[in-house]
């Protein structure tokens, strides 16, 4: 290589974090050599042109999302996309894939156990109080056995890579994990923009995800002998993930419905169509448990379907994911997943958890209050990065405020060490250069009947603000395409 590009000229190396692309001595890891060489050949102007082209591609496809905050009511934004793909070598991925399937098997067995025999609670492996104080525990599910005992069909597990170079599980999202539509759109954008680089690399495809999702949903239909009809239930266009709901329905070739499009008669769920009622067998719902059935949960819900829980109990519909799965994605319960893996599978966890302190445990609480500076505090039942407090950024008064909040309701908070999320070269527009930014990885695991599937790669989320650790799109994060090599 003779030509040196300005794009990496001032790229800082940092011993505190694991850089996915560069070693501490500045050399490039072997699996990044090709793509780095390609970028290095570009001038700043060339790269800017590619970058604009990629952005336009998203805008033209209408790939936007809405953010809820005090000032703005669901304004549409483009999800920032970074052209430098994250690359995971095949052997690393193989291990992650095994670890994710192992984790999901254990989570499903756990949820089934909680709603039936409760062996793990009786054996005091997981504290019962933790389960029954969870907002997501669903008494309804005690009298319902989902088809094939699968509760959590779609799971989004978030992984990070620590400064030791190892992957850790940050959390599992078992309710309605979103982001998969970006994985597919990112890949489309990369193929269009970096067609040469992509062609030269051997990257595992992600395009079969919608077909895998449909097959997963069909494998859990209420009547095994028939091909079930599937629908995606959305809260509607004002939901922040509406694009994804419509995208998935469209790519699977199934109906996208709102609660008002459905009704229940004689414990079957029907969709209204101009040709009369059409029976629905499997619902991939993207609404929360509390809104599913106004006769059972929140009576003011306009999003759900009156009577759907009765139909579910009668075995005439499959709800994906099952209600009550959120009991296992409570961040305090999440810390027991390694114990679940040992208990149900008799195996050692392949991917470890990020160490977690449960504020409701007295000794943990003491540690948390004494080591606030080194910790990240999170409410147990919020997602999207909401409510996360990174304590070393706080003033003394603010710190005291956080302490009081925790002490007021210890069950509701966990703390984790400020894990050094790995960094990845990311193009920073106003600097005209690549800089390291923190990333994580949202993975997507499907559990159908006898067909576990992990989407190769997933969504690499990047915190675009310098030094920021919060990667969620609702908090100013962007994303990267994720390449798993063949």
């Amino acid at each position: 290589m003779t030509q040196t590009s300005t794009l990496f000229q001032n790229y800082p190396t940092n011993a505190t974090f694991f850089d996915e692309v560069f070693r501490h001595d500045g050399a490039v890891y072997p699996h990044y050599e090709d793509i780095h060489r390609q970028f290095s050949r570009l001038t700043l102007a060339d790269f800017e042109r590619l970058n604009e082209y990629a952005k336009l591609s998203f805008l033209n496809q209408g790939i936007t999302y809405a953010v809820y905050s005090d000032g703005h009511k669901g304004a549409e934004q483009i999800f920032p996309f970074d052209l430098f793909p994250r690359i995971i070598p095949a052997p690393d991925w193989e291990k992650l894939e095994k670890g994710l399937i192992q984790r999901n098997l254990a989570l499903n067995l756990f949820i089934k156990d909680v709603y039936s025999e409760r062996k793990i609670l009786k054996d005091k492996i997981v504290p019962a109080a933790l389960i029954f104080s969870s907002h997501h525990y669903s008494e309804e599910m005690k009298s319902i056995r989902p088809k094939h005992d699968i509760y959590c069909h779609i799971c989004g597990t978030d992984l990070i890579r620590h400064s030791d170079g190892n992957y850790y599980v940050l959390e599992d999202n078992l309710r309605s994990p979103s982001g998969v539509s970006y994985v597919l759109s990112n890949r489309d954008a990369i193929k269009r923009t970096l067609s040469n680089a992509f062609r030269w690399s051997s990257v595992r495809s992600v395009s079969e995800y919608p077909a895998e999702l449909l097959a997963t949903l069909q494998s859990v239909g209420p009547k095994s002998e028939e091909r079930p009809s599937v629908a995606v239930l959305t809260p509607g266009p004002y939901n922040s993930a509406y694009y994804e709901h419509s995208f998935l329905a469209h790519r699977m070739g199934v109906e996208l419905v709102e609660g008002r499009d459905l009704f229940v008669e004689n414990n079957f769920v029907y969709m209204r169509t101009i040709h009369g009622p059409k029976r629905i067998d499997v619902i991939y719902r993207r609404i929360d448990d509390a809104f599913l059935d106004p006769l059972v949960f929140r009576p003011d819900s306009m999003l759900g379907v009156a009577g759907i829980m009765g139909a579910y109990r009668a075995g005439n519909i499959t709800i994906v994911n099952a209600p009550g799965t959120g009991v296992a994605d409570d961040k305090a319960v999440c810390s027991y997943v390694p114990a679940m893996i040992r208990y149900y599978l008799g195996e050692e966890p392949i991917i470890p958890n990020v160490p977690t302190y449960l504020c409701e445990r007295e000794e943990d609480l003491k540690y948390v209050l004494e080591h606030m500076q080194d910790l990240v505090v999170k409410p147990v039942d919020m997602s999207g990065g909401y409510g996360v407090v990174i304590c070393d950024r706080l003033s003394k008064a603010e710190l005291e405020e956080v302490k009081q909040t925790i002490l007021h309701d210890p069950r509701n908070y966990i703390a984790q060490p400020r894990m050094a999320l790995s960094v990845h070269s990311t193009y920073i527009e106003n600097k005209g250069a690549f800089e390291p930014r923190h990333i994580d990885l949202r993975t997507f695991t499907l559990m159908g009947k006898d067909r576990p599937y992990v989407l190769p790669g997933g969504l690499s989320r990047v915190a675009l603000k310098e030094g920021s650790l919060i990667v969620n799109s609702s908090q100013g994060g962007g994303s990267k395409d994720t390449w798993v090599t063949v």
Binding site: K122, V264, L295, G307, G310, R313
Partner: protein
């Protein structure tokens, strides 16, 4: 054995037409060791027939889901003939209080009975909300305690119809010192569960043994006594459950046993009236004859 005919009538009138509605009724007497539904008839003002579903504790609900017709009133009349045998009254186990405690403190038992050990908001009581003498004494058998508590709660509250509503918490009723059967039941549950004695809310019909009709269903409590099983207590009337009690359903609190739930699309107000009658079936010969004729056809 006693034969009862139970009548449940409700009429709701809407100011503006209802375009869509879904109703769930939990009013049918359940079937168990002491009671059996011999016949029933459901008369209503809706086009089409209701369908039945089971709720989370297995009790039968009737659903009316109306999507095509608009309506301005909804009337429903359930007539059911129920054969009732006297339920067992014995509340005393052969165990010592310490042995009973061992059962109640067993993790396996607690996990299996968790639904009826966890306090819900309607039943939530603090230690200062009721006299400490209503707590179980050291060495007191669960059965004796339940009889004592049943009497104690009866004395604690004054029965005043209409003073509380469906959302009234046990704590509020205790502060007022007044309530209806539902409040008595919530108070008893709120005292029992934190002491590790499983307790469930029961809705049903009570034969008042005279010709009075009632505007509400009755509510009482079932508590689980080690070795003995579930026994019913009616703190509002200071009675143990007997063959005048006809059970519909049980749950964690009133919210699991609401007789009517509705989700409607309408503007404007509505007015609902209810009437509940329990009679000895001798007074309903016409109903029985009609049922028999139908069966013969």
């Amino acid at each position: 054995m006693t034969d009862y005919v139970i009548e449940y009538r409700t009429l709701t009138e809407y100011e503006k037409p209802v375009k869509q509605g879904a109703y769930e009724f939990l009013i049918m007497p359940c079937e168990n060791e002491t009671q059996k539904v011999k016949h029933f008839r459901l008369l209503h003002s809706m086009r089409g027939e209701p369908f039945t579903a089971r709720n989370k504790y297995g009790f039968l609900t009737h659903h009316f889901h109306i999507y095509t017709d608009s309506f301005e009133y909804f009337s429903l009349n359930l007539l059911a003939q129920v054969a009732k045998n006297p339920p067992p009254l014995n509340v005393f186990s052969n165990l010592s209080a310490a042995e009973e405690n061992a059962v109640l403190e067993d993790m396996e038992f607690q996990m299996d009975q968790q639904s009826f050990l966890q306090v819900t908001p309607l039943c939530l009581l603090g230690p200062g909300d009721f006299p400490a003498e209503l707590l179980r004494l050291d060495g007191e058998n669960v059965g004796s305690y339940l009889l004592r508590l049943n009497a104690g709660i009866h004395r604690l509250l004054q029965y005043v119809p209409g003073i509380t509503d469906a959302g009234t918490q046990a704590k509020t009723a205790l502060e007022m010192g007044k309530g209806v059967c539902q409040d008595y039941a919530h108070v008893m549950i709120g005292i029992l569960r934190p002491q590790g004695i499983p307790a469930r809310y029961v809705s049903g019909y009570l034969n008042l043994s005279d010709d009075r009709s009632d505007s509400q269903l009755h509510a009482w409590v079932e508590a689980l006594i080690p070795q003995v099983g579930w026994r019913g207590f009616d703190p509002a009337n200071h009675l143990q459950e007997n063959d005048h009690f006809i059970k519909i359903a049980h749950g964690r609190d009133y919210l699991d046993c609401q007789p009517i739930k509705g989700v409607l699309t309408t503007e404007g107000a509505h007015k609902t009236s209810y009437e509940v009658l329990v009679r000895n079936s001798m007074d309903y010969n016409w109903f029985l004859q009609e049922q028999q004729q139908q069966q013969q056809q």
